[in-house]
Symmetry: C2
Subunit: 757 residues, 2 copies
């Protein structure tokens, strides 16, 4: 065999190691463009090379999911064994798992909710007591200290957990789930440990009074639960229940995660339809009807279970708790023709304000990624923000004297402060409860419950506070703080309108305008339309009001999109996850496959030496290798494509084969179960203990039963938008580019698109 130099390059991996939600410029000065290395590797290279030279690149943490099922001979054999009964059972199992996903997601949501509710009640009860006792002397330093402390302790606990145990649990988790649905395997994102940290983290953060909500994390929790239940094993607990092995591939797992995310939304907002649509909007390219229905089923079960548990917990005989969060019962909300332009204007304001929020948050997080890198600094930062929150709350309560008669306000702990007896301080009331409760209060308090100044100051404090909070090393969502800001300025707008046109503004109901403001602000920040409309619709329970909501959201999205992208997309971009966009701009029409493909490609023959396989595994970071027939000159270059084999498959073959001494040694131990056992954490190349004598010469591996015999390929003259469509519609990981004679010319992965687009 001729000694031949091969070129090794990166395919869909780079060395980015930062996480979404923390992310960004932390990785250092350069976005590392995948570079082509020029390492000459000889086919029968000397052992010194093999041992001395470490792999150039460790596989990065952002790999693609293999949504494309590898239909190799093993898999087909497995399929022939399948009786019709098994097919039915498998399908039934899918429904049962969806049911379990719904139930478990709801259970987790209920636990978090009940803990937060009970502890918050204690906390604010205690604080009110302290205020009432100390206000007599006019000295609020003691309650302030208590407040700061009760904020500080839980936040430090949560923040420490996130920073030290599982950094990927930071933030809302929605961007990570979006990436997963898009087909990117974000490491550790669907592990049980992540779920545990997330659950504890979100409870402590909300109890600690940070400006965040528990709704976003619920979506992430649902996704983790789905991934866990569907696999029948946990790598965290090193348990394998030996069930559901047939669901152990990326395709099946991802379908369940779609359901889990939807169930999470359903639990968080009591919005089963909205949840299904959320999953749909994010993963639309891979949908089919059966999956839609299973996802919908999981959502309904989740919402239903939560409803039963919370209703039972609160001792109600009928269902009232559709979700963790609801906006309370609205009276029918009538609206008039001439209000629609007002709503649109508010939508535009929300869009601009949301865009500003996003821009500031982005800058902050970029700065944070540079400046706050040690773990203790992250914890300290979170602690600092927690205390700041308490400080502003106290200052506002102390300085603004917004006294209202008792009995009007639904707050559980009305604080009197310096007000008369039978009065309470409306400014303090905004702070003396969880943000959820404040949102509801802003929607439902009767007109005139707050002074203009109270609302202005509240927005002025809460807007930057929430902006600083999102990006801390804590588990928190942004739905609630965003709704809160929007509701506050919406209510403010209503007050202003009433002041401006006292005669003609009978139609202005502050609650209605608070709702519109909340929708506008949320739309401006997250920029979803269809799913968000439905979520808000389901949360308010007021279907007649859908038109204003939709108009507001569209106006918010369009005006916001003028400035920048939604917060989740912005986070994903900052973390450099290779997420595929929805479509390719028409400008790229002239770009052809040959101009974006990675080349030359490392190929393997059907019958290949173990030595060569080890070499390519160690010295490249490719995840897939085309299997070729020998070319006309007997080399692998220019061979005709007859299949594709994955790195993970090669690793498993090598790991499971080497203890047999017969020449066709792999047949006995490498079957389809071997691959399922190793999924999803395939061994690293370094862990393969291959004895030297095996490498000597004669041992070969025959790929024919392992390789995917019909990988998707395109001709090198195919246009990029066309390629992209194929890639996205089928959820591909590798797309082989061939000549018109079906000879390998290059290979295209997710990274190759992103490099050029």
């Amino acid at each position: 065999m001729n000694r031949r130099a091969r070129l090794i390059h990166l395919d869909d991996e780079s060395d980015e190691d930062n996480n979404i939600g923390r992310s960004s410029a932390a990785t250092g000065p350069s976005r590392s463009e995948p570079t082509d290395f020029n390492i000459p590797v000889t086919e029968d290279s000397d052992p010194a090379f093999r041992t001395a030279q470490p792999p150039k690149k460790e596989p990065s943490q952002y790999e693609s999911l293999d949504y494309d099922v590898c239909e190799n001979v093993l898999w087909r054999r497995d399929q022939t064994k399948i009786e019709p009964k098994f097919t039915v059972r498998k399908d039934f199992a899918r429904w049962v798992i969806s049911f379990q996903i719904g139930v478990c997601t709801a259970l987790v949501a209920c636990c978090i909710n009940i803990v937060i509710e009970e502890v918050s009640r204690l906390k604010y009860g205690f604080l009110k007591q302290q205020v009432d006792r100390n206000v007599i002397h006019g000295d609020l330093s003691i309650p302030y200290l208590y407040w700061a402390l009760t904020n500080l302790i839980p936040v430090v606990i949560g923040s420490t957990l996130v920073a030290y145990v599982e950094p990927v649990a930071a933030g809302s988790g929605i961007p990570q789930v979006k990436c997963y649905l898009n087909g990117v395997k974000v490491p550790r994102i669907v592990r049980i440990k992540t779920l545990a940290v997330k659950a504890v983290g979100v409870a402590t953060s909300v109890i600690g009074g940070l400006a965040g909500g528990k709704e976003g994390p619920m979506i992430h929790s649902g996704a983790v639960i789905a991934a866990g239940i569907s696999q029948g094993k946990s790598t965290t607990f090193r348990r394998d229940l030996k069930v559901l092995q047939y669901f152990r591939d990326d395709h099946e797992k991802r379908d369940f995660v779609v359901g889990g995310a939807a169930a999470g939304v359903a639990a968080a907002f009591g919005a089963p339809i909205g949840g299904t649509l959320f999953s749909l909007e994010e993963a639309a390219s891979f949908w089919n009807q059966a999956l839609i229905w299973r996802t919908f089923f999981a959502s309904i079960i989740s919402s239903f279970t939560l409803n039963i548990i919370l209703s039972a917990y609160h001792g109600l005989s009928s269902f009232r708790y559709r979700g963790l969060f609801n906006l309370g019962e609205f009276e029918p909300l009538p609206f008039d023709y001439f209000e629609l332009p007002i709503f649109i204007v508010m939508g535009v304001i929300g869009g601009c304000s949301g865009a500003l929020w996003n821009a500031v948050n982005r800058r902050l997080n970029m700065f944070r990624a540079h400046a706050i890198r040690p773990r203790w600094a992250k914890v300290l930062e979170a602690a600092f923000v927690a205390v700041i929150g308490a400080t502003f709350a106290c200052l506002m309560a102390y300085t603004i004297n917004d006294c209202r008669p008792l009995g009007n306000d639904p707050t559980e702990h009305p604080v009197q402060l310096f007000c008369q007896d039978n009065e309470y301080n409306a400014a303090a009331a905004l702070w003396f409860q969880t943000p959820e409760a404040t949102v509801k209060a802003l929607f439902h308090d009767p007109p005139g419950s707050h002074k203009l100044l109270t609302l202005i100051v509240f927005v002025a404090i809460y807007y930057p506070l929430s902006c600083v909070t999102y990006g801390l090393s804590v588990s928190l969502g942004i739905f609630i703080p965003t709704l809160l800001i929007g509701a506050a300025w919406g209510r403010l707008s209503a007050t202003l309108i009433i002041m401006a046109f006292p005669a003609t503004s009978a139609f202005v109901s502050p609650g209605k305008y608070a709702l519109i403001g909340a929708a506008a602000q949320l739309g401006g920040v997250v920029r979803m339309t269809l799913s968000l409309s439905v979520i808000i619709l389901e949360t308010t329970g007021n279907i007649g009001f859908i038109l204003p909501i939709i108009l507001t959201l569209m106006a918010a999205k369009w005006s916001g999109d003028y400035f920048n992208e939604g917060i989740y997309d912005s986070q994903i971009r900052m973390s450099r996850v290779p997420m595929l966009p929805w479509h390719v701009e028409p400008e790229f029409q002239q770009l052809l496959a040959r101009s974006i493909m990675a080349k030359p490609v490392v190929c393997v023959r059907v019958e290949e030496k173990v030595q060569y396989l080890l070499d390519i595994l160690k010295n490249t970071t490719h995840n897939g290798f085309p299997v070729v027939e020998d070319g006309d000159d007997g080399s692998r270059v220019n061979g005709r494509v007859i299949g594709l084999i994955l790195r993970s498959q090669l690793v498993v073959i090598l790991k499971r084969s080497f203890y047999q001494e017969a020449s066709r040694f792999w047949e006995s131990t490498v079957n389809i179960e071997a691959f399922r056992d190793e999924y999803p954490r395939y061994p690293a190349v370094g862990d393969l203990h291959v004895s030297e004598d095996k490498l000597g010469g004669h041992f070969t591996v025959n790929m024919s039963i392992f390789m995917n015999p019909s990988p998707y390929s395109v001709e090198e003259g195919t246009s990029v938008p066309r390629l992209f469509q194929l890639f996205r519609a089928l959820g591909l990981r590798h797309l082989i580019v061939v000549s018109s004679e079906n000879r390998v010319r290059g290979i295209i992965t997710r990274k190759d698109f992103l490099k050029h687009l």
Copy 2:
């Protein structure tokens, strides 16, 4: 060139000429399996053959849509001319068109609605007058005759229109729209003439008192409007506005039709979200986010416009008419834990009852297709059913003496009949209004508004009546009659429960049970889940009641699916439209491309003689021909695939080329505009006037700038489920099967899947 025999076969066409909605065994004894003809065609065959032998098969009416954009050289040239500004303008045009689709759909819906409302008011007012005048003598024959006449005349008008002018306008149109969204071009389905017949037809049928609704046809209307507006030309009116030429291909047109169908649902039910989901469920494989948003936008605009117009028409200052049909304002509908099993049981009953309805309707329509074939017979049949309806209504009103005090019933024309003064006949009230009004009455009438017998007799009459009606040669939907049957038996169930457990049944509200019954029956007949849940949700406007609705629908779907398929799918199957299913059963895993592909394939060279092209166009019914390089033996067989050219392209090239005398004659007249001008009704081969001297010998056509240079192809060993996924996800029409050397082996079209699956 060697004289060589070629084999000609059918690809995605057969000679089926029946329509959906009328359909079925009418086509005669056999489902014509595409047969392979063995006609030896010589390359330079004698002129006698050409002129004497007519084409073996006219292209059938069911062709596939070309959802795959043909990126040939012409198209690329056109793309390079495009400035970024044009891209923005094109995208903006899409939004403007979506807006127009929404507005126009709403306008059409409003017109139909107002006509039906006004004429029905006159009709029932007149009938009541007649009844009141004649009941004194105890003789109801005069009012009966009037009733029969007022049913007969409009129905005959509508039925004549449908039978003689545009048979494709029969039925609800939903199956046809489903087929279109699935990628089948049902002929004449999106023409303006069809819309006109549909609109007049539906108005006359509803006025004529047939058991049908106007909602289904609205969806079809929306689709027609979308197709019309987006193309900027009408073949019916022979007008070409010379605008929007760039939207003249199947891909763009279909995207707009998706929006139109959604706008139709939005107008019909006031359900913009439900409409979007409806389009989504039917066309999920082709979605992307931008399309979702535009579709949603069209739906909102449609719902909004309708709301404004109808509200203005009824003189209201606030919006109350979200759709043509709404179920009226429900009080909040509380429900208890223990009611859920009752709802599920009702769902199962609805599923079974719906399955029975479907089965009977299917049999009836099969019989009808055999027995009632002349057009006059169809009109006669419709007239007969119209009179039967009046007869039963009169009989029921005459015989059942269900007197209730006046003032309780919301009916506009309460008929006294033989009741006391100050009473009205509740049995007659069910018939003395449009079905929509009766549905509302059943939901909202106070408990005890009807005798048990009244409801039983009503269901017993209406169930078979609606079953007979659907399938007549009239434009009518089945939503309303199905809801009506369900509401009646739901109300009946409530009455029975109250009678069975008089002590403990305080929770039973007849309106609630009528709603559940209606949902169950509808779910049992149409078998949609997600979109139907949302439509019902939006129609009732009661979001708190979503859980019971969803449980009922799921129970109905599952129990109905046990017996047969939904009515729309059943209709589509009967009409033999080649609609692709959602997925391929795992049993077909072992089937490979080579076993289902059609072969041998008629190929063309890049430079091909005009004579040969005319021959293949005339003597085959293929719609696509692989373009090949010559094989090793110099023949087209075994050539390497380098492109694909469509029949429509060849026809246009030949039509537009033959008046130039230069040797490269086509360049001057065939450009991308030529193809757009001819779209969508390409000339037939017979209409090409090719002078004999051109066929002599030297004239050739060079395909290189016309052919699609990167058609999708698969290796012959690819499994059928894998193929299918590719086919469905990309909306393909032709998929070339190649050997591992990229030589043509066969071709797969929609029909090839359906032949085997």
